[in-house]
Symmetry: C2
């Protein structure tokens, strides 16, 4: 009698290359992903979705209901970057990127910030010498000023009024705060910083504050502190080591994670996950950088942020060992870069990482 072989694990991904350098970095990211899971015998299947500026120019569509239904069927999504200067501001952001985040209930927007050896920080040695920079921002992804609940009256007249409404619910704040606490509890320093502006935005701010206090009771080992968003930007530049896990709203998180990326070597290295922790729909992983049309198709885009996003993806789908291998290979390849040599191109960076995975 023979034991039937275990069915091989499949990983079924939706791939949105997008515009500009998006397809290049996603192509490199998939190469690295495949190399990382080869040893585990994972069967990687990908379906490309034609979404972004090119599609919009051609058809006027951003994300149809049919697209959304199709994307929903996959286990996870890898996205490059979307947009070009010919698309009016807001069309792809609201119609595609945010639509995906909201429709797929990506309430945890996860953005790790680690200053890796080989990365160039704009901070001075007297700041960096204090110790390693290694924190993660848990940005709320489905509420706040991003809900699109604004409006305008008498547009184009001297009596115009435009509003933007930040919506914050106990439901929405509690679930992201609980996720952030769980992440903090699993890290050695077990420290959570709430960032808001509760001295001015008193209604939303006090909801966030009370929620953090309440959920803290479930995680008594996690120590909590609070910073106003303006003060947080000061600490990010003068004492980034003080941060472990940061939890904050959608807009503050947008701002702080770009600053955090700058401090830890630039958005060329910054990964992100738009995570649905309940797994009621696929999570989406993307580099923080944009489509950079000016350097597209030249083979010079740095795919490192996509590789690190691939690592987040692998971790999320339960392939933690492969995730660790990608992370390690990226860190090693970056540390090995010769800072005096010309910046390596996409292929060179990819080859260096794949060589370490072989």
């Amino acid at each position: 009698a023979t034991t039937p072989a275990a069915a091989p694990r499949t990983l079924d991904l939706a791939v949105i290359g997008g515009d500009g350098i998006g397809p290049e970095v996603v192509g490199a990211g998939l190469d690295v992903l495949r190399a990382a899971v080869a040893a585990d015998g994972v069967d990687v299947r990908t379906t490309d979705y034609d979404l972004g500026a090119a599609r919009w120019h051609r058809t006027g569509e951003t994300l149809t209901d049919a697209d959304l239904d199709a994307v929903r069927q996959h286990e996870a999504i890898l996205l490059g970057a979307v947009g070009d200067p010919g698309v009016p501001s807001g069309v792809l952001e609201r119609g595609l990127l945010l639509r995906l985040r909201f429709a797929l209930d990506h309430y945890v927007n996860l953005r790790p910030s680690v200053l890796l050896p080989g990365a160039t920080s704009p901070l001075a040695p007297h700041v960096l010498d204090k110790g390693p920079v290694d924190f993660v921002v848990v940005r709320e992804g489905t509420e706040g000023p991003y809900v699109g609940n604004g409006g305008a009256l008498r547009v184009g007249t001297p009596a115009e009024i435009a509003t933007e409404v930040s919506v914050n619910t106990a439901f929405g704040v509690e679930r992201v705060v609980r996720d952030a606490f769980a992440r903090a509890a699993a890290r050695p320093r077990r420290r959570l910083t709430l960032v808001h502006k509760h001295n001015v935005l008193v209604h939303a701010g006090h909801l966030w504050r009370r929620t953090v206090e309440a959920v803290n009771a479930e995680f008594p080992d996690v120590s909590v502190d609070y910073l106003h968003v303006d003060a947080a930007t000061i600490f990010l530049t003068t004492d980034p080591q003080r941060f472990d896990v940061v939890v904050t709203d959608n807009l503050f998180g947008d701002i702080l994670t770009d600053l955090a990326a700058a401090v830890t070597g630039g958005i060329g290295l910054a990964a992100s996950g738009n995570v649905n922790p309940d797994r009621s729909s696929p999570s989406m992983f993307e580099p923080v950088h944009g489509s950079a049309p000016d350097i597209a198709a030249q083979g010079v885009a740095d795919p490192t942020a996509t590789f690190l996003s691939v690592a987040l993806l692998l971790e999320h789908v339960g392939l933690g060992e492969a995730a660790a291998r990608v992370q390690e290979a990226v860190v090693g390849a970056l540390a090995d870069r010769d800072p005096s040599a010309p910046r390596p191109g996409t292929a060179e960076v990819t080859d260096a990482v794949r060589a370490r995975l072989a």
Copy 2:
């Protein structure tokens, strides 16, 4: 026959020392102000207003209508800092500070950022070596998410919802944008950067954007560019030299100016003016830092930010030469500080500046 002597210029100030280190830095600031105008024969009159945490603890009052009427009678206001940990968040911010800014129609919140010789920036030499950092943020002061138009329902229940409404009007945006253009036109580089997030906050963002485009026609010599607020934080740390005049909304301005202060040596050096350019009510000048109760009454608070705020005040009331003298004295004293010596105390810093004014 004798010509009657010209009536001496009087300068009639409302002084709000406030709490913590506020009274100390304001005391030093008034000493410096008096020394600076002595040569011009200006008769300085001051009236102290007991406002802040101490008053609130004693009486439960933040700013009464009578206080406001009284403060309104003066030519300008010098404020130190208000607040202590015993006052609930938002009480003094909304009830006193923002109430003053809104009631006195301080629609230009002016925040210069200059990296002065002797100041310690957290940025690396490879960033700072690119050139001098010298810009000013014109932060809108009477609209945006600061209007207090939020609310909450079912507070403390799982069904709680809290909103914050950002209000932006053509009236409010246009007047601050015009002020920012005028400032840009008067500077050598004549460059204005609008900072917003118009790809997400489309209604407010497009109002700001259209307004900047329209007002640019009145200032054809000013070149304009645009940055999303998240990208602006990156440039503030990697290329702060790119900024000349920045115009932005109340909340983005709050965040960017703390970051800008950090980059140019810390909020201990950051001055601000809450300006009513129409002069329909007195403008208010204050250091950006808070009341720092932990170091109060020890003589260690750095009054430099207050001195620079005094310079902004003098400039605003038409005493430009005295303003320049203060600015020059502060710059000289700071450059003269021995970086290896212990940080000088309040009296020492004040004496150094006064000596240069004598």
